[in-house]
Symmetry: C2
Subunit: 344 residues, 2 copies
DNA sequence: GCCCGAGTTGTGAGCGTTAACAATGTAGCT
DNA sequence: AGCTACATTGTTAACGCTCACAACTCGGGC
């Protein structure tokens, strides 16, 4: 823990002096370059240890023109999905030797996204990942001047923008099909908010499954992802005895629907089946345990980084179309769905 | 969008040339220093706009010896609590003009924390916040060489370490008192994992309230915060009809307890009252809606940053004892708690 | 007309690192 | 012994910015 004598942090020159070599040799050791005699190497390492030296990343970044920082723009990281994606991103980035700098948005508008990207640009990030679940976000992104390369995650396809997303439509299709297979005439839907790409894809998947099966496509309402909105929509659904199956666009809203059904005296799954989407950790412990669709948020984050790194490496961006990676979903069957009740 | 002519990003000198001034004047404009003639200021701004110039933060950091980056070490950011705290930290830091670099740990040990701090030190952070909910973390922190200043958040008190935390004990006391006031003979407890400071404080608060009231202090089991563990412990609790009130150390485990009670045919709150801790957004929509204790995670994050900034400013660290900030809790009464049933 | 001071602008030297190149030393060969 | 080839080390100049200071302007008072 010996300090450099005077107050300031030790720099490479200090290490060099202590080890009796030039600063360049220290640099070589630090960067693992070849052609350093073992004995020298050892002396340098000892000096580094003795002084408690560590490299000044700003100077390094300045000289190499690489900041080693990746930017992340996120939205409502308090939710399970974004939080998990963020975690995946952070882990993958660190493993690849990058730092991660994040900006959380309170609202997604062209303006806030612009600001966030400018802010990250100020930090000289080498690339950016934007968790962009809303249509507005994807639109804001295209043709915006800002840090490159840029990859969108959890967003919908966009021209000229590399994207990684979960196969929402397939998941919704899958679970709707499941409900239909259980003998339900049709399946009602509680959708996510308008403008959210995930919500739209889930509607599309649901509608598709219904149409394929020749089932009627009922009206549906939009919630805002919160349990409360699910509860409110759930109450109107619970009031109609002809409804025997509901696919809710996320688990939190499904929780609200479950409660509404319970209050109205409709038993789940005996009278009505309810299914969710996301498979949050709590879903297994709802009453009853929720049938839902698992999506691997962490994988989305990891692939996002992997695409970004590829772009960072690759000489030029792929000419024709931006790469699109799709992460599959998985049906999780539990006890909130069952055979349709006998029509009496 | 005019580029500097050749390929590379424009630098201050380019702006200076275009505006017909010296690089120093550009710097002055950029930093909002006084004594720049309005006309000059305008020319510089125009040049910046024209070139799409933005400051190279590495060079700036090198020259000023300030990286403008704050490090955050977090643990399981997928949970509502840490995620909210992280959000509070990020917002507050950005507002103060700092960037935030985060490291998420998979496990909290002396070793992983050391690594995380080393990693952040490599990035020349100006200070660190560690979200350290476990005893091991706080211990690992004291007397560890690494980036300074350092503040711990959500951890327990530690010597020589500034800390911001929620008044867990008071919250636990409050809710136990509430249950007692409803006429319950005593209150059972489902604790969080050993080694977690929050869990320990909640046990202490619960025990204190019981002792003050002269109530018996029952045995209690440790869960792991997950709904599943709550469910498992809940089953043994549900099997004993003499138990009429349970205080569960967090909402997720309370969810599991709720389910166990339901399965065992014990009605909540008619037969048994159940209370949680945290007030996650879903708690209001459990069946029944959960009485719980609200804690302001965001505020913890904000205060953490505020303490850190004060330390960064202040000449020296406060001599005697490290500052400790305590964030209060608030009781949230819903329908999972009620009068004790008539003892028949 | 000249000098002074405040307001404005320019100059040069770092900040701590890496990159390019020059200068050693050291074997191995003829 | 003399030379070459290679391994090892040192030297110098960027990288793009801020800081300290020097050098100009331009009025007003004598």
């Amino acid at each position: 823990m010996a300090t450099a004598g005077n107050g300031r942090d030790p720099v490479m020159a200090d290490v060099a002096r202590v080890a009796g070599v030039s600063h360049q040799t220290v640099s070589r050791v630090l960067n693992g370059l070849p052609n350093v005699k073992p004995a020298t190497h050892e002396r340098v390492v000892a000096a580094i240890e003795e002084l408690g030296y560590h490299r000044n990343s700003s100077a390094r970044a300045l000289a190499t023109r690489r900041s080693q920082v990746l930017g992340v723009v996120a939205f409502d990281t308090t939710l399970y999905g974004p939080a998990s994606t963020l975690l995946g991103i952070e882990r993958a980035a660190r493993q690849a030797g990058y730092f991660v700098s994040i900006v959380s948005l309170t609202a997604i508008t062209r303006e806030t996204i612009r600001e966030a990207l400018d802010y990250l640009a100020e930090q000289s990030v080498e690339g950016c990942i934007v968790i962009a679940p809303k249509r507005a976000a994807v639109e804001a992104l295209t043709g915006l001047r800002g840090p490159r390369p840029l990859v969108a995650v959890e967003g919908g396809v966009a021209p000229d923008l590399p994207v990684v997303c979960v196969d929402q439509a397939a998941g919704a299709h899958q679970i709707t099909r499941h409900l239909l297979d259980l003998g339900h005439r049709t399946v009602w839907h509680v959708a996510g908010p308008r403008d959210w790409l995930e919500a739209e894809s889930r509607v599309a998947g649901w509608r598709g499954a219904l149409e394929e099966a020749g089932a009627a496509v009922p009206e549906y309402a939009h919630g805002d992802w919160s349990p409360r909105s699910g509860y409110e929509i759930g109450r109107t659904l619970a009031a109609r005895p002809d409804i025997t199956a509901v696919f809710v666009a996320n688990d939190q809203m499904a929780l609200g629907v479950l409660r509404a059904m319970g209050e109205a005296g409709r038993r789940v799954p005996a009278d009505v089946s309810v299914a969710g989407f996301d498979d949050v950790p709590e879903a297994e412990f709802f009453s009853p345990p929720l049938t839902t669709v698992y999506q691997d948020f962490g994988e989305v984050g990891r692939r996002g980084i992997s695409v970004l790194l590829r772009l960072l490496d690759g000489a030029a961006e792929p000419a024709a179309h931006a790469p699109i990676e799709v992460v599959p979903t998985r049906l999780v069957l539990r006890s909130s769905t069952a055979q349709a009740p006998d029509p009496t």
